[in-house]
Amino acid sequence: MTTRRIVLTAALGTLLAPAVRATPAALRSAIAAFTGGQLPRTGRVTLDIAPLIDNGNVVPVAIRVDSPMTAADHVQRIGLYTALNPLPEVAVFHLGPRSGVARVATRMRLATTQTLTALAVMNDGSVWQQQVDVIVTLAACIES
């Protein structure tokens, strides 16, 4: 049974719960684990996301990487990371020559206005990235 007291207590709990945020150190170590410590270079990666997001619960996002996707030259992994969600990791995609093109899409959650980082690891070990700033008006994880 849902009483007014339960609803109020739950609402209060949501308000009083400390906002869980990833720290810059957590983001750095998550990205270092993905890249194997390689310093990412900016370029080749295109992170496609709306700059202004009404609803952070379901945000369409697509990542493209400029690569011929041949056996000799292809993208091995694509990673997506957030600065201020509770955890920095979003998803890691594993691709190969069978993919044909390096283009993936999904729908993600965004806790607040922040910077997203998309990274690609090539088969030659080089790492490329693009960072995108997004503004979120309704955050994920607030309503039940």
Binding site: F93, S99, G100, V101, R109
Partner: protein, 107 residues
């Protein structure tokens, strides 16, 4: 409860063409950071890994984290090498396991 999944592939494709596979599965993707009506944290319950196999060969995989929206949607590419069966599998917490298959016709 039966799990619903959608797997979309083009009706037909040419050999050498790159097609887009789209897959969705019914799942709450509970983050483990939300508070329930009793004031306690709701246990984390995620789809952790999705894989695509074409005639038994793995052609795609993805690791998912709490920042993926509920009922996870994924779109990924595949270079068509011939007719065959594409199978997508979802695996996650609390023993979650589901698969869906679609035939790719490349005359």
């Amino acid at each position: 409860m039966a799990v619903r999944a959608l797997l979309h592939v083009p009706a037909s494709a040419r050999i050498g063409e790159v097609i887009e596979i789209r897959a969705t599965v019914q799942h709450p993707m509970e983050t483990g950071f939300r508070v329930g009506s009793d004031g306690q944290l709701l246990a984390r319950n995620l789809v952790r890994r999705v894989e695509g196999h074409f005639d038994g060969e793995r052609v795609f995989a993805v690791d998912l984290h709490p920042a993926i929206a509920a009922n996870p949607y994924l779109a990924f590419p595949l270079r068509v090498t011939g007719s065959g069966l594409l199978t997508v599998t979802w695996q996650g917490d609390e023993g979650f396991s589901h698969s869906a298959s679609a035939r790719i016709n490349a005359p």
